[in-house]
């Protein structure tokens, strides 16, 4: 079984064993109840950098070299990066507006609460008020054939994310939004590079 694995994956498996302890302690601001630390699926990104999966409606912030990974369809992944302090975080939002759900405990579920929460966590890590840069991806319309009167959930999410970024003075650097396909997003928190792999295999770097 092990012999049939590609070299890169073997390297990652070894690497994950070496680093698992330190990584767990150093990733802060985890709003997820369950932690699945390492997922090794593709090799679009640097194989020596570990991948950490961010759940749906989850948020993670890190200041060491990791790839924060998530898969989105109509959801939107917000990657916020602090270039001067080399840290950043990723939030996977599901819904545009939190005002309908006053008792919701997860700020990372909604576009309007996820942006300030993520920005605050990043500032907690670096301790300084450095300018934050954002890259967003997702918001697809997975079933374009279905007729609908209003905007699709994906479009609503994107609108809301952009409004929230503008309101909290986070500059939107790049985006890969819309379409009718899912995206796998991996965000290198140190370099700030976002690698997006579409389902058909197309790779895009932001």
């Amino acid at each position: 079984m092990l012999n049939s694995l590609p070299r890169v994956m073997l390297l990652r498996l070894w690497h994950s064993k070496q680093q698992s302890k330190t990584l767990r302690t150093q990733i802060g601001a985890c709003t997820q109840t369950e932690e699945i630390p390492f997922i090794t699926t593709t090799a679009d990104t640097d194989p020596t950098v570990e991948e950490v999966r961010v759940d749906m409606a989850g948020m993670k912030v890190a200041s060491m070299p990791v790839e924060l990974v998530t898969s989105v369809g109509s959801c939107v992944a917000i990657c916020i990066h602090d270039l001067t302090n080399k840290c950043g975080g990723l939030a996977h939002i599901m819904l545009p507006d939190s005002s309908v759900f006053p008792h919701e405990l997860l700020p990372s579920k909604f576009a309007d609460t996820a942006v300030p929460a993520l920005a605050q966590k990043i500032r907690q890590i670096n301790g300084k008020k450095a300018p934050l840069l954002a890259k967003i991806a997702g918001g697809a319309n997975m079933f374009p054939n279905l007729r609908s009167d209003s905007l699709s959930v994906g479009e609503k999410n994107i609108e809301s994310v952009k409004a929230a970024l503008a309101a909290h003075k986070v500059k939107l650097l790049a985006e890969d939004i819309g379409g009718t396909f899912g995206r796998r997003i991996s965000f290198n928190v140190v370099t700030g590079v976002v690698t997006i792999r579409r389902f058909k295999g197309e790779i895009k770097k932001l």
């Binding site: 749906m56 409606a57 369809g73």
Partner: protein
């Protein structure tokens, strides 16, 4: 807010929301009823699956789980797995979303069996799509007709939609819909297996609150259980729940 306070908060969610549904007073009966209805549907679906594939299909005892909507991707843990799905919507008074998800490889094999092609890779894309839509029509149709016969509720499916993408990307559209009304998801699990493991699929059902209420009420009528004056109580009174039925090969 300090980090500790936040940790306590998240751990609180985990304790309350995770795990198998436990029967407590009022809601036990309703859960049992939904489980029973789901089992009847699953049984019929297994029969039609067996007829289509010309193979013996076995079925495990169904289970019900109660988990938060946003933890469903982790529950299945398929994330980026290439998935082929057929989506059907129930129209008119009983609104409902139904998703039948196959692993892409399994879908190929099933399409090959249905089109009598010896090599799964030789099946044309359009033929595969057509075959799987047909299978979904048959499977979901038998599921619905069993439920409809049992409860006497009219269930009318719209034509199926076909999609091929990563597992998480497909289901998140429906989870968003679900999250708009409810935090919790009621998950119904049933395992089907065939001799050579060609039926690894998940059937997800998202009934509207209206349909859920109807199902419970009609079944209670049938069982001769008197309904309280304020009507049947739902598991999440103001919310939707959905039922998931998993068809997969044994581990």
């Amino acid at each position: 807010m300090s980090e500790e306070a936040e940790k306590n908060k998240t751990s609180k969610i985990g304790k309350e929301d995770l795990g198998v549904y436990t029967c407590t007073s009022n809601t036990c009966m309703e859960v049992e009823i939904l489980l029973e209805i789901g089992s009847i549907g699953a049984g019929h679906a297994a029969t039609s699956l067996s007829e289509v594939l010309q193979q013996r299909v076995l079925i495990d005892v169904p289970k019900i789980h109660n988990i938060p909507v946003h933890q469903l991707p982790n529950f299945y843990h398929r994330h980026d797995a290439p998935t082929t799905a057929v989506y059907m919507q129930l129209v008119e008074e009983s609104e409902c979303d139904i998703l039948l998800l196959f692993e892409a490889e399994e879908a190929k094999k099933i399409a090959a069996i249905m089109t009598m092609t010896p090599n799964p890779d030789e099946v044309e894309a359009s033929m595969k799509q057509s075959a799987l839509q047909e299978l979904a029509n048959i499977l979901i149709g038998s599921y619905l007709s069993a439920i409809s016969d049992f409860t006497g509720i009219r269930l009318i499916p719209a034509p199926p939609q076909w999609i091929e993408d990563a597992f998480d990307a497909i289901i998140d559209n429906f989870l968003i819909k679900q999250a708009m009304v409810s935090n919790q998801a009621l998950v119904f699990d049933a395992n089907f297996r065939t001799a050579d493991g060609n039926a690894n699929a998940v059937l997800m059902i998202f009934p509207s609150p209206h349909l859920q209420g109807l199902l419970i009420q009609k079944s209670m009528d049938l069982c001769g259980i008197p309904i309280k004056q304020d009507g049947p109580k739902l598991i999440h009174p103001e919310n939707e729940t959905f039922v998931v039925c998993e068809i997969s090969k044994p581990k």
